[in-house]
Structures are given as C-alpha cells and as structure tokens.
C-alpha cells in the first residue's frame, strides 16, 4: 500500500489508477506473474482507498480552516484510518514534480513524473546560508468597520465605489481589490468607472489586448484583412478601453509621423495611413470612449494626413477624404464644448489654402478639410478668402497634375451650391463679379451656369 500512496498527486490528476502501475509495483516486489484481472481489480481498489484517504483528509483540511490540502492532512487521515503514515513529507517544502524526458523506445508509457531529490552540500550550507529564525506568530488589530463604514486605512482593502445608490448589498467588485478566491469575474462597466476614480494602472489584460490589437492592425498586409476588420470592430464597439485611449492615440500619432516622414510615397505608407485613419474613426465611433481630453493629440495626425504635400498617389484622395470626414465628425462632436476649436482649425486650413508656396497636395487637402468643416468654411476659404483665385492662378500657371485639385475645388463649389438643372449663361455683370471673387480660371468654369454662380457668390440661389 505504501508505494501507490506515494504517487497520490498523479492519481488525483488522472482520476484513474492504471493497472500498469500495479504491475510495476508488483514487479518491484518480485511478483512477476500477475494476472490481468487481479491487476485491474487491485487498481480499482487502490483508487477507492486513495479516494477514501482524500475524503478523510478533506475533513481535516476543513477543520484546519484551510482551503488547500497539505501533507499533514493526509498524515492525520491515514492515522485515523489506522494506516501507517507516510514519512518524510512535510508541508514546509512542497514537492515539485518534474516531468521526465519521454522514452522514445516506449511511447505507450506516457509521461513520467518524479520528485527531484536535490543534493545538498553541507559545507556550502554551513558556510553560506545563514539560517534566519522565523518571527513568531504575532497579531495586529485594526478597525474593519466603524459603525458600518469601512475606514480607509492600509489594513483594509481599497474602497469600492458603489455602482449605484440603491444596491447596498453588492459591495464587492473587481479592479484593484484583491479578488476573493471564489469570486473571479468582474464586469467591465464597473471597472471602467472605477478606473477613472482610482490611479490608473494598466491591467495585464488590457496590456495584452493592446499588443494584440496593434499587432493585428499593423503592418497592413492584405492577408490578415479579416483580423484587421475584427480589431477595428472591437475598437468601435467594446467598452472598457478607456484606459488604453492615451496609448492608442500616441500609437496613432507615432504611426502617422513615421509614415509621413519617409516621404510618404510608397504604397505601404499609404496603406498604413489608411488603417490609422480607420482607427481614428473607430475610436470616435465608440460611444464608451471619452475622447475630449485627447483632442489636442488626435488633431495633429488628422491634419498632417489631410495637408501633407505628397501622399502616395493611389491613396491620396481616399486618405484626404477620410481625414476630412474624421475632422468633420470631431468638430460636430466637440465644437460646442471647445468654442475656439473650429476657428483654430479654420486658420490652419486657410493658411494651407492661400499661403505662399504650398504644394498642390496641401491645397487639395485644405479644400477637402474645408468641405469637412462645413459650407460656411468653404465659402470663407474659397470665395471670400480668395482661395479659388490662388488655385486658379496656379492652375493656369502649370497645367500638369492639377486635376485632383481642380476636382476638389469643383466639389467644394458643388457643396456650396448644387449646379442648376437647366444651366443658362451668366451675364456680363455676374461674370465680372465672378472673376473678381474666384479668378479667371474658375469664373470660366462657373460662367456656364448662372444660378450656380450666383449661389456660390452670395450663398443664395436665385
């Protein structure tokens, strides 16, 4: 009986005591001819006896007010069952079972575990290890509650904010509070609220999430398209990511800078920027995220993408459009709380539109940005600020590569005032004012439609 007991942890794990083990034991005792039936029923019996011992030991564990069984429980159980105790096992140094290398010649044997018997060099122990006596048992007293309120002292676990006033019974929650053994899960909403209240420490789960998220988004190979979509969807819909927001925004900013710094001409950079724009729009889609404090960090990437002089040609239109859409969304959401936000963006865009020596791409971006900001901004930029004149002049100066710019400008005019269904030519007076406001280039383009031209000029349709 002795040897099978020594392998107790293994038997517990598998739940079935193998008859091969019985045979091994028998062989070690010199019994070679053990019939199969005997081995099998012996194995059953040994398993039953082990369970008996464990059940008995569990009682000792419960009465010792512990939740994990120790070797002393087994010892006491063996004692009351009138079985000779196992010697040499103590709970002070729990055994660590190591797995032996598999036998290549005998694959059916399965994994073999053994207790490592460490050799201790007495000389070394006597020379080096100073044995420190443990401090004796001591007690500390503290107030767990004073008139029903738990004082906020280091001895007590950190307070848990009550999630709602009506529910006094639900006190335990997750977060930084050490989870009690039986309670594992915590809900995300509670956690989110709590994280705004307590000092922010990024939990391991969130860190893992962050790594997984960023690695599935970038680099944007076409293969993991599904993964990227899933990541974006998660970002768009999942709650509880508030703590990640600063990290994500910084990641976006660095990504945009990196992509643009390298000249921003390669296909790959274009794709990177596209993904990053998608991430920004996903973040803004997520209603549980609170973006406002990070506006000053999120704007530069958007504006850089929008106004950068040379985006990869295949992606430039799409990139600038999505950047302007994000900008527009951002302004509609936050311009009420930040009144100075839209004037500042307007200023940047106007500068890009009419400033000296800006590239075509920048000007195009500026127009698209203005479209994003709104009708009034377009009028202010193109008509009143003379943006159209500047562009027109540039277009007449060099005719090559101006198509996107012209297209964007015409789109802006359409936004201002849709062209009339039955165009009639403008009269001379209107043509003069058109030339005055928009310059020759665009005056000619609009001259064919009187209603459109008037609408563009005055903001009212005739």
């Amino acid at each position: 009986m002795n040897k099978p007991k020594a392998r107790l942890p293994q038997a517990q794990n598998t739940g079935i005591y193998k008859k091969d083990t019985i045979r091994d034991v028998a062989e070690s005792l010199g019994i070679t001819s053990l019939s199969d039936a005997v081995a099998s029923s012996l194995a059953s019996d040994v398993e039953y006896r082990i369970h008996q011992v464990i059940e008995e030991a569990a009682r000792f564990m419960r009465h010792a007010r512990r939740t994990s069984m120790t070797t002393s429980d087994i010892d006491l159980a063996l004692r009351v069952l009138n079985i000779e105790p196992l010697y040499g096992h103590s709970s002070h140094n729990p055994h660590i079972f190591r797995r032996a290398l598999p036998f290549p010649q005998l694959p059916a044997a399965g994994p073999v575990y053994f207790v490592e018997d460490e050799e201790i060099d007495f000389d070394r122990v006597l020379r080096e290890d100073k044995i420190t006596l443990p401090r004796g048992v001591s007690y500390t007293a503290h107030w767990l509650a004073v008139e029903g309120v738990q004082p906020l002292i280091p001895e007590n676990p950190p307070a848990i904010p009550r999630d709602d006033a009506q529910d006094p019974t639900k006190a335990l929650a997750a977060g930084n509070v050490p989870l009690s053994p039986g309670r594992a899960s915590a809900n995300a909403k509670k956690q989110q609220q709590q994280q705004q209240l307590v000092k922010q420490v990024l939990s391991r789960e969130l860190q893992l999430y962050y790594t997984r998220l960023t690695s599935s988004l970038l680099p944007p190979t076409s293969a993991d398209h599904a993964k990227r979509t899933a990541a974006l969807a998660s970002l768009r819909n999942d709650a509880g990511l508030q703590a990640l927001l600063p990290y994500l925004i910084r990641w976006i900013g660095e990504g945009v800078v990196g992509a643009l710094k390298e000249g921003g001409q390669s296909e790959n950079d274009g794709r990177v920027l596209e993904v990053l724009m998608d991430v920004i729009s996903a973040i803004m889609d997520n209603t549980t995220l609170f973006v406002e404090p990070y506006l000053h960090q999120i704007l530069p990437p958007i504006l850089s993408t929008l106004l950068h002089s040379s985006l990869p040609p295949t992606h430039s239109t799409h990139l600038r459009t999505s950047a302007s859409q994000s900008l527009s969304r951002l302004l509609t959401q936050h311009s009420t709380t930040y009144p100075s936000l839209s004037p500042r963006i307007m200023k940047t865009l106007l500068l890009a539109l009419i400033g000296e020596g800006k590239s075509v791409g920048t000007r195009e971006g500026a127009i698209r940005g203005l479209i994003g900001v709104g009708k009034e901004a377009v009028r202010k930029g193109l008509v009143e600020g003379g943006g159209a004149k500047v562009i027109g002049n540039e277009c007449t100066a060099s005719s090559w590569g101006m198509e996107p710019l012209v297209e964007a400008a015409m789109h802006a005019f359409v936004i201002l005032q849709p062209p009339s269904d039955m165009p009639e030519s403008a009269d001379a007076e209107l043509l003069t004012s058109l030339r005055e406001a928009l310059g020759n280039f665009f005056a000619e383009k609009l001259a064919g439609d009187r209603g459109w031209a008037v609408g563009v000029l005055t903001g009212t349709s005739t």
Partner: protein, 785 residues
C-alpha cells in the same frame, strides 16, 4: 420481463410493495416455490405476470413440472418471460406476442437451437431468471436515457418536480452496475449521465464515482444508505400519476424523434429497470399542494435519504419519515432565559443600588426585565430544569450579574431592520446606517506557519487565544498586560490570603504565552464564561486531533486535566453558559457532555450518521445543538440525552452554528455556502441566506438577536438582517444592464453589508456583550509561486 408492464392499478408503489396480503385461493394448491414466485410478482406489481402464472398453475400444473425437473425453482412461465427477450423476433414487435405460453414455446423451437436454451436454463439454476435479466447492464443505460428524455419532455410546470427523481435512480443504477461487477458499463454510465444532474449533488456523485468494485459498494456507508433506506421524493398528486403512467404504459413526454426506443422492447425493459428502483428504493411524499406553490427550500428539506437522519422515538411503532413530524412529536421546548437564584438576584440588586448611590446614577438599578426579557409564547425554564449547579454563589457570580446589567445599559443597539426602508447611501441616512451596523474590530494573525484552525476571545475581551496546527495554543493579552503564571516552587503553608498568592507569581513575563500539551492540531478553544465580562477567565478548554480535550488553568498557565473518551479527533468544544459543564463534538459521530471535575463524560449524544463538526449550547443551557457532516443539525436535551429537534435542509456538511441570545433561533452554516435560520420551537426553517463564496467558518448573533455576522474563507465578514424576509433580491433592473451576469448575484436580499479583508479568511466572529464585533483570522500571504 416483457410482461412486466403493470397496469395502472399500481397507482401507489409503496402500497403495492407493502401489501403482502393473504394468498388467494388458487395459490393454495400450488407448490411452495410457485407461491413464493407469485408473492414476489405481486410485491413487485407485475400483475399480468401474476395472472398468467396462476393460469399456468391451474391448467398445466402437473405435466409441466415434470418437464422442468432439473430446474425446480424456475416455473415455466418465469422461464418464458425471461427468455422472451431473446425469442422476440423483429418481425413481430407486438405487445401480446408472448401472452400465452404455447406460442412462446413454438417460438423457442423455431429458433432451432434448443441445446443453447437448455444450457441457458441450466445456467440460470437457482438464481432465477429475472435476476439474470436484471443484471443486464444495457437496460440501465436505456432506462435512464428514457427517463431523462421523459423528464425533459414533460411540461415546464412538472419539471422541477420530476428532476429530483433522476438523482436517486442514477445512483441506484450505478450501484447496481458496480455491484454486479460491470465496472466498464458503470463508468460509461457515470460519464454519460452524471453531467446532467444537478450541481447540488456533486459531492455525492464524486463519492459514488470512487466506488468501483462490488466490495466497495457493500462496505461503503453512503452506498449502504442508498441500499437500505428509502429515498424520499416529494411530488404532487398529478405529477405522481403522470410518473406512474409513464412507468407502466410509457405514455407522455416523448421527445421528438425518440424513435422506436419508446415503443420497442428495449424501452420497456429500461422502464422496468427504472420501476424496480422506484418500487424498492424510493418513497414518494404525495402532497395535494400545487407544484408551483412549493418553495425550493421545501424541496431541499423533503428529498433525500431522510429516514435514518430522523431519530426514531423509542416505543413509537410507525417510523417517522418527515422531519417536521418528528419535531412536532417531540413537544414544546423551554427556550426562555435561564432562571437566577433569588439570593444571587438579591445580592446583585443590592450591589447595583450601592453603586448607584456612589455614582449618583439613578439609572443603574437592577432591572430584571431588562436582562432577561420574557418573550410571550416562550416557556422559561425553572431552576429545577437546569443541570445541577453549585448550591451557593460566589462573589464572581455577583460581579458577573452586575456587569450584565451595566453592559445592557451601555450596549450599542443594532437595528438592521431600520435599513430596509429606504436608501442607505444617502447622506441623511448615514446616522441610520451607523445605528444599524456594527463596528468590527479585526485581529489578524501573521506568520502563523501551518495555520491556526481556531481563534477565540474571552468574554471580557482581555484575552485572545489561538490554536495552531503545530499542536500548541497561544494566548495574548489584548490589554498588553503581562501574563504571569504561578511558580511551582512554593511552600503550601505560606499561602494565607490572596496577597500571598500574588507574591508567588512569576517575575517578568510577556504579554503572550504558549501552552504546550496537545499532540495534534488544536481545532477548538473556549474560555470559561463564569466571570462573564466582569473579569478575566480562569480556564481555557481546547480540543485537538489527538482525541483529547484539555483544561488549562490561566492562573498557572498549565494544563490541569486531559479529558479522554473520544476515540477520534475532537472537532469542537464549548462551555455551557453557566460554566461547570462543557460539550465536545468528535469524528466518532458523537457529541459528549462533560463536567470539569470528572475525567469521564456524563452524557453521550449519539445519532448523527457522520462526524459531529460543531456544538453549541442554548443560552439557558438546557439544550445542545450539534452540526454534523451528515448534513443535519440536531438539538439535544442536555440532561435526558435525547434528540428533540432535527434540522434537515443543508446540502453539505455543517461548519458552524450559532444560537440567538434570545434563545429562539438557530443559525447554521454549511459547506453548501448557505446559512440557514431555524426556529427552534417549531424546528422549521425560517430562511436561507446565501452570498458567501467560500466556506463559512464562524457565525455570531448580536446581543439583541437582530443581526447575524458571518466570517468566511472568502476573506469577508458579512452582516445579515435576521428579521427581514430574505429571499433572492429582485434583479430585474439589472437584467437590462448586465445581462448574463446573473450567476454572480446569488446574494439574498437580507445581506446587509459585506466587509472585505485583505487576504484574511475569518475563522472567528464574536460579539462582545456591548455589541462590538470582534473577528479574527490568519493573514494568507500571497503564494510566492
């Protein structure tokens, strides 16, 4: 067995089983074996088989007997029935194919291998054919599959009623398989069906799964209880008739696509196997009440292997099968406060009056009703009811009584019921909250090595004691005073008065002492209550795994007596509220009563089927409550030694008990993580409180009995409102918010508040006489691995 489908007249199996009525006329001329078979069939309810056999006996009596001389115990009909399964042809699956025995014999001969059948008949021998068939492992599997399908296919209103049947039938099938040696089949059966059974049965199921050999099933306690006792199941009348209908005719609850399993031969055999268990091992409490009106608590109390848990009253002929019936048969209890002798009372009053004049405090009058309030409807015991006590009182008794009055006046009143109306978090209710909830002082032990199974505080809170797994006890003075024992080297003649005793105290000393004497983990400690809160206790009792209970003198700081008697580890010890006596509970399934001046026990309270895990005296010391690993708590008459109440309802071993100071309620905590509140007078369960997520180690009532505090291995202390109705909180509002998180919210609404600790399982909670709550536990350092 094909004919073993009884008609609907077997409306009540227990009647059929018990009716060994007088033999009828045709039986008289039959042989003894035939009569036995006939009776057996009647007992099992196989009416048609019985009828058929009687026909056979009348008609083919003599000639058939000659044919089967080599197997005299098996009658023709038995044989026919037993072989029917093998003879059945798929082309003729009808019901009545084997109605008459002649066709069967034809059938047998057409099969063309009479030698095989002869061999079979020979092998059947004296065992009986039905037995052979009953051993067939497959019918268990089939029967259970069908039973489960039937239960699942039944109407929703009946499901809660039918579900509990699955468990006992499962257990019996498994044991049948094990007992007949079909180990593989049993394991397969277990793995197939055990997962679908209710989670409450996991412990029992695990135990059963360890039984693998016939000898195990024969020797195991639990298996024997399943075998020898009737498993009580509660059922409504309509539900029961549905069950009988299914068992006999196989009607109702057919799951879609069940196929021929239901109408076919195998289906019938499976049902017959189910019926065998139902007839032999189940007892139905058929109640007239509607299914839906029965609370889940009532289900818990009335299902299970109850008969042996309920003590049998000597002299009573009919055994009681219902805990309520037993409890009411035991008559009323005297639950009032214990009486106080006139002299002591007069002396205490005098002392109080004296103090009142000194302190010019007119309120300090002795007010008997203040201390021992009499609740209407509760009988208070007289002095003659009490166990014998010293005839005269001492000054310590007076001091205790005086202190009781003072404590009562200075007590913090806790009224948790005030919290139930309204929002307790609003600022204006902060005062309300303060009035309702206790202050809790936590004592945390550090560096406790292998752990401290028990901690306790003295009634005057001057001392704390902890028993350790390393077999020693440590005492701390909570006031920081030096604990000095008496020296042993003194001249007895030199002791004249108290001051000379002071002179022989040890010099020096520290505020903590280690008491060494036990040779096993110390599981329970108790300070003597004699001096009450008026002064430090003089004695300490300890119970240990070394099967002894030891009395320690706190004057000398030494072991005075070792009480031996239990043969097994002693789990719990408690002083009687009046001192002198104490009770212990042990692994040997008994609780015992001792007095300090005798080394042998005075009473043995035997009756629990398993370890007595905890003991608690009633405040008037007339009764002793015990909690056991057989999932029940009992209340014993201390002097008579008889059981007067049994409390059935826990779904696990009991871990802690508390009796309210007003003497009316018993609170019990079990390994099912529930706290049950019982009314001692009626023995009924008042409510079940859940919320803890790990074992509950300790319970305590506040002095007004209005609040219950529990300490648990989940590192929390929780406060419960005793008076509120309880029940599951209404979570409708949160359903919308956090759908799918319901499993987390299993707290009943009477949980007033929870105080989490930092990794400290609470092993002891206690109220001081002034309603300050003291808790203690061992800090668990986070696992370094």
């Amino acid at each position: 067995m094909s004919e073993a489908s009884p008609t609907a007249e077997v409306s009540s199996p227990e009647e059929a089983a018990s009716s060994n009525s007088a033999p009828q006329d045709p039986v008289q001329n039959a042989s003894t074996t035939d009569r036995m078979v006939l009776e057996y069939l009647r007992a099992r309810g196989h009416n048609s088989a019985e009828r058929a056999l009687m026909e056979v006996l009348e008609n083919v009596d003599s000639d058939d007997k000659e044919k089967h001389t080599e197997t005299p115990t098996v009658s023709t009909d038995e044989l026919v029935r037993s072989l029917a399964v093998y003879a059945q042809k798929p082309s003729r699956p009808g019901e009545n194919v084997l109605k008459d025995s002649t066709s069967v014999l034809q059938e047998l001969t057409t099969m063309g291998n009479p030698t095989n059948i002869q061999n079979l008949i020979a092998s059947i021998g004296a065992v009986g054919a039905e037995e052979i068939l009953a051993l067939d492992p497959t019918d268990k599997q089939d029967g259970f599959t069908e039973l489960e399908a039937w239960v699942d296919g039944s109407l929703d209103m009946y499901k809660p009623e039918f579900r509990p049947i699955l468990f006992p039938i499962f257990c019996h099938f498994y044991l049948d398989l094990i007992q007949s040696g079909f180990r593989e089949a049993a394991l397969k059966f277990f793995s197939t069906f055990s997962l679908s059974l209710a989670a409450a049965h996991t412990a029992t199921l695990h135990h059963l799964s360890t039984l693998l050999l016939p000898s195990h099933a024969q020797n195991d306690d639990l298996a024997q209880r399943f075998r020898n006792e009737k498993y009580a199941v509660r059922m409504s009348r309509s539900g029961f008739s549905l069950l009988v209908g299914w068992l006999t005719e196989g009607v109702g609850g057919e799951a879609a696509g069940a196929g021929e399993g239901f109408s076919g031969e195998r289906g019938k055999r499976g049902r017959a196997a189910v019926m065998r268990v139902v007839n032999n091992h189940l007892r139905f409490d058929v109640s007239a009440s509607n299914t839906t009106s029965v609370s889940p608590n009532a289900w818990e109390e009335s299902t299970g292997l109850l008969s042996s848990l309920i003590p049998q009253t000597p002299g009573a002929t009919a055994s009681l099968t219902n805990p309520q019936a037993f409890n009411s048969s035991q008559g009323g209890l005297k639950l009032g406060p214990s009486p106080i002798s006139e002299e002591l009372r007069a002396e205490a009053e005098y002392k109080l009056r004296e103090q009142a004049t000194v302190e010019t405090d007119p309120g300090a009058q002795y007010d008997a009703s203040n201390i021992r309030p009499s609740v209407p409807g509760i009988v208070a015991p007289t002095e003659t009811d009490l166990p014998p006590l010293p005839p005269t009182f001492k000054s310590i008794d007076v001091a205790r009584e005086v202190q009781k009055v003072r404590d009562a006046r200075k007590r913090i009143r806790l009224e948790p019921s005030a919290l139930t109306n309204g929002d307790i978090d609003s600022p204006q209710n902060a005062t309300l909250r303060a009035r309702a909830l206790p202050s809790v002082c936590a004592y945390t032990l550090h560096d406790a090595g292998e752990g401290a199974p028990c901690t306790t505080f003295s009634p005057d809170t001057s001392l704390m004691a902890a028993g350790f797994a390393e077999s020693y006890i440590r005492i701390w003075s909570l006031k920081g005073e030096k604990l000095r024992g008496l020296r042993s080297d003194f001249q007895a003649s030199s002791i004249q008065n108290s001051s000379s005793i002071q002179r022989i105290r040890e010099k020096g000393g520290t505020s903590t002492r280690k008491l060494i004497g036990h040779s096993g983990p110390v599981y329970s400690l108790s300070f003597d209550p004699l001096s009450g809160s008026a002064g430090p206790p003089k004695y300490l009792l300890s119970a240990s795994a070394d099967a002894t209970t030891r009395l320690w003198s706190l004057d000398t700081m030494t072991n005075v007596v070792a009480y031996r008697g239990h043969q097994n580890p002693v789990w719990d010890v408690q002083w009687s509220p009046l001192g002198v006596y104490f009770a212990t509970g042990s692994r040997d399934r008994t609780a015992r009563l001792w007095s300090t001046d005798r080394t042998s026990c005075l009473r043995v309270y035997a009756g629990h089927l398993n370890d007595v895990d905890c003991v608690k005296f009633h405040p008037n010391s007339l009764y002793l409550a015990t909690g056991s690993s057989d999932w029940t708590a009992r209340l014993w008459d201390v002097q008579k030694g008889s059981c007067v109440r049994v409390f059935i309802g826990h779904q696990g071993s009991l871990s802690s008990l508390a009796i309210s100071p007003d003497g009316r309620y018993l609170a019990s905590a079990g390994e099912d993580l529930a706290i049950n509140l019982w009314d001692l007078g009626s023995g009924r369960r008042i409510k079940k409180m859940t919320g803890h997520t790990a074992s509950i180690y300790s319970l305590a009532f506040s002095e007004e009995s209005s609040m219950l505090v529990s300490g648990s291995a989940d590192w929390t202390v929780r406060c419960w409102d005793v008076k509120s109705a309880g029940g599951m909180a209404n979570k409708a509002r949160e359903n919308g918010l956090f759908g799918g998180e319901q499993s987390d919210h299993h707290e009943t609404s009477d949980l007033v508040t929870t105080f989490p600790t930092k990794r400290t399982p609470i092993t002891n909670v206690q109220f001081t006489p002034r309603n300050l709550c003291l808790v203690a536990g061992v800090y668990q350092a986070p696992d370094p691995r």
